[in-house]
């Protein structure tokens, strides 16, 4: 396996590495969505990210997450340059955001619709800026990358009865391999950890991390009860049971096994970058889009994503390697799937599948697009805790 570890990336001024070198055109607020869409039509090579947030939520936690996510997208190592499109009067306006971003070590061009001549003029200036930055990035070259600089996120969504048997087990074996190479692996989805506190806490690096794991799962469980009341048990649904899952712990094991079996070195908040290497656990929601954003903003350069029912979801600026849990969905959604873990059902040895996934990961790190990347299936949403005002 070591023989094929020739991986490359883009060295960033802070010593980190990107495995892509994108121009990110990022909205600060939902109001400028149309401007971002116009730029996307004019400059399809840029990663253009409109979203539904940026204002209208006053809770401190929501503002913290909003600023952390937008700043984190700007800081992301796969992003080489940024065009920030603001409105002017929003909570996450470009001035407030600039202070949170600080020195990103990359060119950032800032436009505001209220100051730059309205929507069309801003779109025109934004497209010109994006083209200029693409030209600038085209001179940068890949350099050799070592595995200890690789950071992968593990996600599952649109799960079926085989997700926890084939795809997540396969992803977990890649997670273990990555940790052995000195890389960083992160997984989240706190609601899917309910029932496994004893398992995850036992794998914690030390007592402090074990307590954090127990607390985060306890919070997730209480939140589930607060929101769903007597329906909380539906976290394991009749459909899950028809599929053969008998308890919440069994269902949760099928989810957390995608993180592999390594020692858990750190627990991080939603979107918070870890300071440790190895396996990291994120206190974030299970909803696919929100979860992917948390993992990406924590610094993951690529994601593995298992699915049994089938989802096309990718993420802006990150390769997402889609792992089908069964051969039926792999065949039914050929433009969306990258790996068929359903082959395990047909008798493929687990080691062979793992090696195939590592081989694909190496090619993806070196620039080969995943299906979601190739077809532009970006999803960008993030966690909120309060309703809008």
């Amino acid at each position: 396996m070591e023989a094929m570890s020739g991986i490359t990336g883009y060295l960033r001024p802070n010593g980190g590495f990107g495995i892509r070198n994108h121009v990110l055109v990022l909205a600060t607020v939902s109001c400028v969505t149309g401007v971002i869409q116009r730029i996307a039509r004019e400059v399809p090579e840029a990663v253009c990210v409109p979203h539904a947030w940026g204002c209208g939520r006053g809770g401190l936690r929501d503002v913290q997450v909003l600023l952390r996510v937008l700043a984190g997208m700007v800081h992301h190592p796969n992003v080489g340059a940024v065009v920030l499109i603001g409105l002017g009067c929003e909570v996450s306006n470009t001035k407030t955001l600039a202070a949170v971003i600080g020195d990103a070590g990359k060119p950032i061009e800032v436009l505001n619709v209220q100051e730059d001549g309205g929507s069309l003029a801003t779109a025109r200036k934004g497209a010109a800026a994006a083209r200029r930055l693409l030209e600038h990035l085209s001179t940068q070259r890949r350099v050799p990358l070592s595995w200890d600089k690789v950071f992968a996120g593990m996600e599952c969504g649109g799960s079926d009865a085989m997700s926890g048997v084939t795809a997540n087990v396969a992803i977990g074996s890649v997670a273990d391999w990555l940790v052995e190479q000195g890389a960083t692996v992160i997984f989240g989805e706190n609601t899917e950890m309910i029932g496994t506190a004893h398992v995850l806490a036992r794998r914690a690096k030390n007592e402090a991390v074990a307590r954090q794991i127990e607390q985060l799962i306890d919070r997730a469980e209480r939140l589930t009860h607060d929101i769903m009341g007597d329906m909380a048990s539906l976290v394991i649904s009749p459909g899950n049971m028809d599929g053969g899952m008998s308890t919440i712990a069994e269902k949760a094991m099928g989810s957390i096994c995608k993180g592999g079996t390594s020692t858990i070195n750190q627990v991080v908040d939603y979107g918070e970058p870890p300071t440790e290497h190895g396996l990291i656990l994120q206190d974030g929601p299970g909803y696919d889009g929100d979860s992917m954003t948390g993992l990406a903003v924590s610094g993951a350069q690529l994601l593995f994503f298992s699915t049994g029912r089938g989802t096309p979801a990718g993420f802006p600026g990150l390769p997402v390697i889609k792992v089908a849990s069964n051969s039926r969905v792999y065949a039914a959604m050929p433009d969306d799937m990258d790996v068929n873990a359903g082959a395990l059902i047909e008798g493929k040895p687990r080691a062979a599948l793992r090696d195939e996934m590592i081989d694909l990961m190496v090619r993806v790190i070196n620039g080969e697009p995943t299906q979601a990347e190739r077809h532009g299936m970006d999803v960008f949403t993030f966690m909120t805790v309060h309703p809008p005002f």
């Binding site: 008998s246 094991m253 059902i345």
Partner: protein, 90 residues
Amino acid sequence: MKANILVIHPCDNVAVVLTALAAGETAVAAGIEGLTAVSDIPASHKIALADIAAGGAVIKYGETVAVSTRDIKKGEWVHTHNLESKRWKR
């Protein structure tokens, strides 16, 4: 013969049935010998790899995922009728 069950972890006492088994059918996987389904078991459900005494741990992923509520025989379907959650009663 082609495998029709999948053992996730070497410590497990249940395996996942890949294609529905009828009572009397042989369950096949690498390292598993002399296992016969003693009840009908739907695809993606669990088969006991060994006898599990009442109150014993049901082990999958190498971890306890449930506790049996009665004696479960090797080859039997393992599901909500013969186990319970250590946690929420589902």
